[in-house]
């Protein structure tokens, strides 16, 4: 039994890796084994969306680490993205540092800003802390805006082409093969952190702060550490985002940008790292799928169809907003929780048919 289950597990893993490797080829050639696929058969997806999804996954993972694992609710996670983008603008666009050095500097400054942002957590709890991250978000975005208008202008901050030594990231496929390992690395790293002594202490802190303190763990230090790690990842994601888009303005990092990460981890499931991945994937890919279906249906022209076509982006928002509301009311543990439930039921059936 265990042999066969191990066989299945390895088989699935290898299949997954193969699919991930084949995906960019499929999406750029837009055909599978020589058979041409229509746009809708590919769900209206392109590799650019996949790349943006991978970047968003980094953000969702870092926020889920902070909120789901350490229990610190942050409503200003976009601020760390903005920090990363700004550091990338200074070191990359202005000083001309190479791309890897830019990422490292973004991580370092991001960690520092994260510690500063986490400082109120030493004094206030719960709702008050949420509000302090809310206020911090506005302050960071204001700084970004002032910086942008001082050195660049309204059109935004331009970023140079990213390259790792001689490997220039000038096609979506190349980006894909840089971003994918990063997501895997971050996922794996965070997962391992959670099973370390520190990670367990953090989960304990989330569940019962007082009990954790009385078992000799310095909760304050732990909080700041969680903040530093999470914001460093988010800042790297911000730098990647800025480089990928090649031009970024302060308006990108509004409060809605921060909210989307919270929505992702709620859809995926609070406190589940793979849930964060699922949430980010849905949040980034579903809009273009919905848009695809809406425009396809629109050609035959009923009044209802026309309304769909005209309000595609609003429609996406209604669907997502309602999805979040429905999940919150009926499945507070998110898709990861639903998945776990199905799995336990399935396993129970398997063992006792």
């Amino acid at each position: 039994m265990s042999d066969s289950s191990r066989f299945w597990r390895w088989g699935l893993a290898i299949l997954g890796v193969l699919i991930l490797l084949y995906l960019p080829v499929l999406l750029t050639e837009r055909s599978i084994l020589g058979v041409r696929l229509s746009n809708m058969q590919l769900l209206n997806l392109g590799l650019t969306q996949i790349n943006l999804m991978l970047i968003a996954m980094l953000g969702a993972l870092s926020l889920n680490y902070l909120t789901g694992m350490a229990g610190l609710i942050s409503i200003g996670h976009a601020a760390f993205y903005a920090t990363g983008a700004m550091v990338a603008a200074i070191t990359g666009s202005q000083w001309g540092w190479p791309f890897p050095a830019v990422l490292v500097s973004a991580a370092a400054v991001g960690a520092l800003v994260g510690v500063i942002a986490g400082l109120p957590s030493l004094r206030v709890r719960g709702l008050y802390f949420v509000l302090s991250t809310f206020a911090m978000h506005y302050i960071v975005v204001f700084v970004f805006q002032e910086y942008q208008f001082k050195f660049f202008d309204v059109v935004g901050v331009p970023y140079p082409e990213a390259s790792i030594s001689s490997f220039v990231l000038n096609t979506p496929t190349r980006w894909y093969f840089v971003l994918l390992p990063m997501v895997v690395l971050v996922f794996w790293g965070l997962k391992n952190t959670l099973s370390s002594r520190e990670g367990r202490a953090m989960l304990a802190m989330r569940d019962h702060e007082l009990a954790t303190t009385s078992s000799g763990i310095d909760v304050r230090f732990l909080r700041l550490k969680a903040f530093a790690l999470s914001s460093a990842i988010a800042a790297v994601a911000g730098a990647l985002y800025a480089y990928y888009l090649t031009n970024v303005t302060s308006e990108f990092f509004g409060i809605h940008f921060a909210i989307q990460f919270i929505a992702m981890i709620i859809i995926g499931g609070m406190g589940s790292l793979s849930g964060a991945l699922v949430g980010a994937a849905l949040w980034l890919l579903l809009p273009s799928i919905i848009t695809g279906f809406a425009s396809q249906g629109g050609t035959d022209g009923g009044l209802f169809q026309q309304m769909l076509v005209e309000n595609k982006s609003q429609l996406v928002q209604v669907i997502f907003g309602s999805l979040v509301i429905v999940l919150l009311i009926f499945a507070p543990t998110g898709l990861a929780g639903i998945g776990r439930k199905i799995q336990t039921r399935f396993v129970a059936l398997w063992n006792h048919p």
Binding site: V124, S132, A135
Partner: protein, 288 residues
């Protein structure tokens, strides 16, 4: 110059105070930190557009329409969304109100189009001079109506039996329940009041600017106002609103229009660090 800025700051601050008051009533009753309060302001503005421009109702009837529509909306939100979530974690409830505001924004854009609409009411729009001070009549009316509403609800909570029941419910759900108070009804009433106050704010803000989704960020200024004033305190919400209006206008005219919000949020962080329970709130004691 200074007097002029102070006047507009106080007038806008009165509207913020009104919206913040609605927020506090909801927070006190149901402990919901309502991020959708900004969208309720927008809804108020668009209820006004519907009544005045689309339906062509006379102004008095329009006011009735706005109040009834807003109250219904508030009750619906409580019944359909907030009540099923009672007992859930704070983040769930906060996220619910955020998701709600996303849906509301999209629905408004689908119904009314993404552009803002001008809101024409028979309220006086002229300007008169008081010494050197140019007083906009609309600002003055907005401030007066806001103060009237605040006074009205203050008296309602203080002197009427229903107000007493609502205060008792906000104080302690279980105790009120044991005394035979219909707690759900009281909470629903609180949501109705919160939505109506936001809608009145939206009516004025929509006329001072345009009725558009941009009003949401103005409505969200109620959040810092509430925290600065003290979350559990009704006078605190009003004074917080006035302070936010003053800071906004002062920094916009003396420092930079872009910086107007920043000083509010810096003050918010300072308050959170030094006196988290706000200027007028009561210190909450941590229970183990």
């Amino acid at each position: 110059m200074l007097a002029q800025v102070l006047f507009s700051g106080l007038a806008l601050g009165s509207i913020y105070g009104l919206v913040a008051l609605g927020f506090t009533v909801v927070f006190k009753a149901t402990e919901v930190f309502n991020f959708a309060q900004g969208m309720l302001v927008v809804c108020g503005a668009f209820f006004a557009v519907t009544a005045i421009s689309l339906l062509g109702l006379p102004f008095g009837l329009s006011l009735v329409f706005i109040v009834v529509a807003a109250a219904t909306l508030g009750i619906l939100i409580h019944r359909v969304l907030i009540q099923p979530l009672s007992g859930q974690s704070m983040l769930s409830v906060i996220m619910l109100t955020i998701a709600l505001s996303i849906v509301m924004r999209a629905v408004i854009e689908i119904t009314f189009g993404p552009q803002g609409r001008t809101l024409a009411t028979p309220l006086p729009t002229g300007v008169f001079l008081l010494g050197e001070l140019r007083i906009s009549q609309l600002h003055l009316v907005a401030a007066l109506v806001s103060w009237f509403c605040m006074g009205l609800f203050g008296a309602f909570f203080k002197f009427t039996p229903i107000g007493l029941l609502m205060r008792a419910t906000a104080d302690n759900h279980e105790a009120a329940l044991v005394c035979g108070v219909n707690v759900n009804l009281m909470n629903r009433l609180a949501w109705a009041i919160g939505a109506v106050l936001a809608a009145v704010g939206g009516l004025f803000l929509g006329q001072l600017q345009l009725a558009s989704n941009d009003l949401e960020s103005i409505g969200l200024l109620a959040l810092p106002a509430v925290v600065i004033g003290g979350m559990q305190s009704i006078p605190g919400a009003i004074i917080g609103g006035l302070l936010v209006g003053l800071i906004e206008q002062l920094s916009a005219s003396y420092i930079s229009p872009k910086a107007s919000d920043i000083f509010i949020y810096i003050l918010l962080i300072l308050i959170l660090l030094i006196r988290p329970w706000g200027l007028f709130g009561q210190k909450e004691l941590g229970r183990v």
